[in-house]
Symmetry: C2
Subunit: 430 residues, 2 copies
């Protein structure tokens, strides 16, 4: 049964992930051969800077001409770990045109253009796998696409960005402010020099788009995902969360709307109870809850980034793509048959935790409560604190549409007795 | 592309799981059609007691002749949710002979005879899927077989039996003894009338055999798994665990031995630190840690049993088997190429927590310590407690081969000054 002609693999990108993929392919060649049913060999590695030292990576395979590599015609599988939209998109499309299947770790590209890439793969009878694009080594794409293919997923709720979880964990454990925690994350290599993609939530939003699309069998793009980063989260927010028995996490939340006819996808900081399993996800770990009709609540936990974990996910997909090549078949393609529309954030039903600085005089609470009532928002708890002539009011609402909650806050801002809105945070996971 | 002739499914067994499978196939027919690429229909349901009322299950499909059903020749996929060795084994074999793929939830059969069943499937070009056999709805078999196919798994450690976790959780939270907690589990439907398979660890051992085989790409049978149930666990053991900052869980542990040339698989009660994520797995939930070279530590958590969760796993496999049928291919078969032998329990390296009732006189501790030293077992901590002329010694060891630890205990039992060995429990998860 064992085929002797090796399957040929082109590797696009040889940074932290790519070099680890090359290393494992070399050190575990026999295992990969046994698991695939044929030998697999690296036929070329495209990089931008060929001079850079890459320990354990065969120098003779290095090329700067990625396009020529994917056009060779004898490549069975292209692994794309460059990231970003271009040239990754053109290279993947060219790979399909030349008969290769593709394994990608590119969350931004998948979230932006997944439908077109899936269509290109299907047209050429090729596979497009991307387990590494969401939550690193944690199997999520395959379980959602395949293990839960007979179930109905209603909710995906998770921590899918390690950098921001590290920052929030530091803020929670040490009482540090955002910039101090970010500095520590940068010093330890958890945050990049330009942390925008992480701290503004772009990375998590791309993952939310991918997860929502797969979970609900529809198309969700990055632009469909409501996105708030964590740069506005203060030490005082974290302290408020603690007083409520909560902690603050940057969550990606994908939900089927109540009537089942639309979905929502969002990324924002939120308070979750300390008793929720996601509350104990520390440092740069990721964890994702999946709620399905029959399966109930499942959780997947593990390292969400880093060279070896991401390489593990890439190599799992490589084995699958190679097996399919040998069998002359492909794995499951895009499943977007439900065509469920994505509802705007205003229709999401959630709870708010609002801190107001108010004048310390009688009647303020009544006035504030009236504003909530006018917007149809029911109040769960109110806590008043006096501090030197001023007072603060902390209001936690019951569940209401986000639009009603945010209109309430807008009206509160206009009250003379409200000196300022110190913080607004959603409360999830209850 | 959509095929109109439906794929035909035979369902063997219509108890808690089977009736849920039938129900979901009926209520979610359109979703299954879209996800598979062709309609799928129940062609027959084999049961032992046809007279029993089964809400929502089409009466005209019920038959008592399971053999005739799998021999019909037009069945694409057989779902086996009967459990037990026979007649399940013969029916599955007959199903393969007649061209069907099989989805099974049968842990006992897979652990006893998985290799032969895989061989029968391969010979006929059929699929054998069994996600539901391990930890209910939690995707574990597919992630291990496919997502981690490019990685090297070194350890699988988990809670894979909900009944025993419910019992231990009750003992831990209420201080109840084993029988009292078992009674509660029975009353609430978490334990069967004859709880032997669960409380003696047979169920968990079957799952450990399946997981070890998949994780290490070798063959592990039920007989290879060292098995201790929880019937000997006392309220006092749980209290001792608490004093150590631990709790007691019935764990399934599959490990690659230090030199990588053998594996071990075992099921026994063990103390684990409260800080370990498995410690917070409550009630009848399951959770499994997987440690892989590149991926690092992953955890999978969810409901490990019950009709709907098990049906979710069955239906995910059904979709995969049907897709493969349409594509004229099969999924990954058995991977047992490493042929790693299974080492006996004596070679497992672990730690012991031992409670001794000893004479309350000088020199006893020295004498006991000498026994440990003679067996090459290093002591981590000793705690002495006096009670009315008697004394108890609690010894926690460092890591040592299980054979040395158990020989130590045998020698201790023979000391005049040792009145009894009150409890022995392994300590894991550190």
């Amino acid at each position: 049964m064992m085929r002797t002609r090796p399957l040929k693999v082109a590797l696009l990108g040889c940074g932290v992930v790519g070099s680890e993929v090359a290393r494992i392919m070399a050190t575990h060649a026999d295992d990969l051969t046994a698991r695939i049913g044929a030998p697999v060999e690296l036929a070329g590695i495209a990089v931008r800077r060929p001079g850079r030292a890459r320990a354990g990576v065969p120098a003779e395979l290095i090329t700067t001409d990625a396009t020529a590599l994917v056009k060779r015609g004898d490549i069975d599988v292209v692994i794309e770990v460059i990231g970003g939209i271009e040239p990754a998109r053109s290279l993947i499309t060219t790979a399909f045109e030349h008969g290769a299947s593709v394994v990608s770790a590119n969350k931004a590209l998948l979230a932006e253009d997944g439908a077109a890439l899936h269509a290109a793969a299907e047209e050429r009878g090729a596979d497009l796998y991307y387990e590494a694009a969401v939550a690193g080594a944690i199997p999520l794409v395959r379980p959602l696409r395949e293990s839960l293919a007979g179930d109905t997923v209603n909710r995906v709720l998770g921590i899918v960005n390690g950098t921001t979880n590290f920052i929030l964990d530091k803020m929670d454990s040490s009482g540090a402010g955002y910039s101090e925690a970010l500095d520590e994350a940068t010093a330890l290599g958890y945050a990049e020099a330009d942390p925008t993609a992480d701290v503004e939530g772009f990375d998590a939003a791309a993952k939310a788009a991918i997860l929502a699309g797969i979970a609900f069998h529809t198309r969700v793009r990055l632009d469909d995902v409501h996105r708030e980063g964590l740069t506005e989260v203060t030490a005082s927010d974290i302290a408020s969360a603690k007083r409520m028995g909560c902690t603050v996490k940057l969550l990606a939340i994908c939900e089927r709307a109540g009537d089942g006819r639309s979905v929502t996808a969002r990324v924002h900081p939120a308070m979750i109870p300390l008793t929720h399993p996601l509350a104990s996800v520390r440092e740069a770990y990721n964890a994702v809850f999946v709620e399905a009709e029959a399966a109930g609540q499942l959780m997947f936990y593990g390292p969400g980034a880093g060279g070896p974990p991401t390489a593990s996910a890439v190599l799992g997909d490589l084995v699958a793509a190679c097996r399919n090549k040998l069998a002359g078949t492909t794995g499951p393609g895009e499943s977007a048959y439900t065509r469920l529309p994505v509802s705007p954030m205003g229709e999401v039903v959630t709870r708010y935790h609002i801190s107001l600085d108010v004048a310390d005089k009688p009647g303020v609470l009544a006035q504030v409560a009236q504003v909530f009532a006018e917007h149809g928002v029911s109040i769960d708890t109110v806590r008043q604190q006096g501090k030197d002539g001023e007072a603060s009011l902390v209001v936690v609402t019951h569940r209401a549409p986000d639009a009603a909650l945010s209109a309430t806050v807008e009206t509160l801002r206009q009250l003379d007795t409200v000196r300022g809105v110190a913080s607004i945070m959603r409360v999830e996971g209850e």
